[in-house]
C-alpha cells in the first residue's frame, strides 16, 4: 500500500492539466502567497547571508550575462555578480517592492508560467522556490520554464529544501501533512478519488511542538523519514505584525495563530521537501537540458543544468 498513494497523486497531476496553466492550489494561496505577503519585511530582514554555492555559480558566469532569478524573494542574489545584469521576479508583491527599493529590476510574476519570451537569459536561478509548489506537475512546469527562458548553452541553478535535514530537531517543529491533502486543498478543479474528506483545521494545529500530528494520517504518513509534505512555522513578532492589517485578518480567518509565550503571530508555510534523488529525477523528466552538477549543501538538494 505504501507505494500506491504517491503514484496515484502523480497520476492525478498529469490527468488534471494538459495545458500550461492551471489554477493555483489553495494550499499555495494560503500557505505560501498570503504568508510571504504578510511576513515580507520581517522575512527580508532575516535574509541577508549569501549562500556561497549560489555566489560561486553566479561568479562562474561570463561577464555581461543576463541572469533571471525566478522566485527572487527579497532580492538577496540580485546584482551579486556586478559583471552581470539581473532581472528578478516573485509572486509576492510586498517582496518585489522590497527588491525594487534596493534599485533592482523586478516584476511580479509566477514561476510556473513566466511571462518571458524564450531564450533571452544567459542563466536562471531558482533558490528555495520549487519546494513551495504543491504538485509534481507544477514543479516540473517551473523547471521547464527555467530551461525555456535561457539561451541554448545557458545555465540553470535550482536549490530546494531536503527531506534529509542536517539538523533533525528542526523537523520536529514542522507539522506533517497527509498526502491526501491535495484532494481538499488543491481546489475544486482537481478530481476527487476519495469521498471522505479529512478535516484538517489550522486551528487544531497544536502549539506544542511534540504533539502528535492531526488529520487523517495512517501509520506510514506519520513516519517522518518518508514524510515530504509539511507546514513550517514562521514566527512574526507582535511588534512586526500589523495591528489592523494582514495579521489581524489572518488571525480571524485561522490563517495564523498567536503564540503569546513567544510574542509572535505564527504563520505556516507549505513545503514539499525533496528526497534524495528526487530533484534529479524531476529535472531529468524535462527535455532540453542536461545535468552538469548536483550536490547536497546545508540541508538543500542542488542541481545545475545546461540547456542543449
Amino acid at each position: 500500500m505504501k507505494g500506491v498513494l504517491p503514484s496515484i497523486v502523480t497520476r492525478i497531476d498529469q490527468e488534471c492539466s494538459s495545458s500550461k496553466g492551471e489554477p493555483t492550489p489553495e494550499i499555495e494561496k494560503n500557505h505560501v502567497h498570503r504568508v510571504y505577503d504578510a511576513i515580507a519585511p520581517h522575512f527580508s530582514s532575516t535574509r541577508f547571508a549569501k549562500w556561497p554555492k549560489v555566489q560561486a555559480f553566479l561568479n562562474s558566469l561570463l561577464c555581461g550575462s543576463l541572469v533571471l532569478d525566478a522566485g527572487c524573494g527579497n532580492g538577496k542574489y540580485l546584482g551579486l555578480n556586478t559583471n552581470c545584469y539581473f532581472i528578478g521576479c516573485d509572486i509576492s508583491s510586498p517582496l518585489v517592492n522590497i527588491c525594487a527599493q534596493k534599485g533592482n529590476e523586478v516584476l511580479v510574476a509566477d514561476a510556473v508560467n513566466l511571462p518571458y519570451r524564450s531564450g533571452y537569459g544567459d542563466a536562471a536561478i531558482s533558490i528555495a522556490v520549487l519546494h513551495h509548489l504543491s504538485t509534481e506537475l507544477r514543479r516540473r512546469r517551473a523547471v521547464e520554464e527555467l530551461i525555456r527562458v535561457v539561451r541554448t548553452g545557458g545555465s540553470v541553478l535550482v536549490t530546494v529544501w531536503a527531506r534529509e535535514q542536517e539538523d533533525r530537531s528542526l523537523i520536529s517543529k514542522w507539522t506533517p501533512l497527509s498526502q491526501k491533502y491535495t484532494e481538499d486543498w488543491v481546489g475544486s478543479s482537481s478530481p476527487r478519488t476519495h469521498s471522505d474528506s479529512p478535516s484538517f483545521s489550522l486551528q487544531s494545529i497544536p502549539e506544542n511542538d511534540e504533539s502528535e500530528p492531526r488529520g487523517d494520517f495512517s501509520d506510514e504518513h506519520t513516519d517522518r523519514t518518508c514524510q515530504q509534505e509539511y507546514l513550517v512555522p514562521w514566527h512574526l513578532p507582535y511588534h512586526r505584525a500589523e495591528v489592523s492589517g494582514t495579521s489581524a485578518t489572518a488571525l480571524s480567518t485561522g490563517l495564523a495563530r498567536k503564540d503569546d509565550k513567544k510574542g509572535a503571530v505564527v504563520y505556516d508555510r507549505y513545503y514539499h521537501v525533496f528526497s534524495e534523488g528526487e530533484l534529479e529525477r524531476l529535472v531529468s523528466s524535462v527535455d532540453g537540458a542536461i545535468v552538469v552538477d548536483k550536490f547536497y549543501d546545508k540541508s538543500n538538494w542542488c542541481i545545475i543544468l545546461k540547456k542543449i
Partner: protein
C-alpha cells in the same frame, strides 16, 4: 521597468499565440543613469528584438535609435551609448503593458510590472 525587461516580456494569457511585444501605455517616465558597459551591451544586442525596442523607446520619448542595424554598429561608441540609454536608463514608472492580442492591461506601478494572470486567464 526598463526596456531591457520590456524586450523580454510576453503576454502568457491562455489562448494567446503571440503576446510579444506588449504595447506600452505611459503615465510617467523617469530617466536614471547607469554605468556604461559596452561588453554587456554587445552581449545583449544579439537577443534584442530590435523593432520592439525602437517602438518602445519612442513611446517612452527617446527616438534616437536607428531603425535598422548592422553588426559594424557594435564598434561604434555613439551607437552603443544610444543603445545603453534606451535599454537601461529609461524607466516606465507608472503606466501599463498591454497584451497585443487581448488588450488586457498589466499594470506598472513604481516601476514594477505585475504580470500575474487572473484565474480565468490561466
Amino acid at each position: 521597468m526598463r526596456l531591457i525587461t520590456h524586450n523580454m516580456l510576453s503576454s502568457n494569457i491562455k489562448g494567446v499565440t503571440n503576446g510579444f511585444p506588449l504595447r506600452i501605455q505611459v503615465e510617467k517616465v523617469v530617466e536614471k543613469e547607469v554605468d556604461f558597459n559596452p561588453d554587456f551591451l554587445r552581449n545583449m544586442f544579439a537577443k534584442i528584438e530590435w523593432k520592439a525596442l525602437t517602438e518602445a523607446s519612442k513611446t517612452l520619448g527617446y527616438a534616437d535609435l536607428p531603425e535598422e542595424t548592422e553588426p559594424l554598429m557594435l564598434e561604434s561608441e555613439e551607437f552603443l551609448r544610444k543603445l545603453h540609454h534606451a535599454l537601461l536608463e529609461l524607466h516606465l514608472e507608472e503606466g501599463a503593458l498591454v497584451c497585443p492580442e487581448t488588450g488586457r492591461k498589466f499594470p506598472v506601478n513604481k516601476g514594477i510590472p505585475n504580470m500575474l494572470l487572473h484565474e480565468d486567464e490561466v
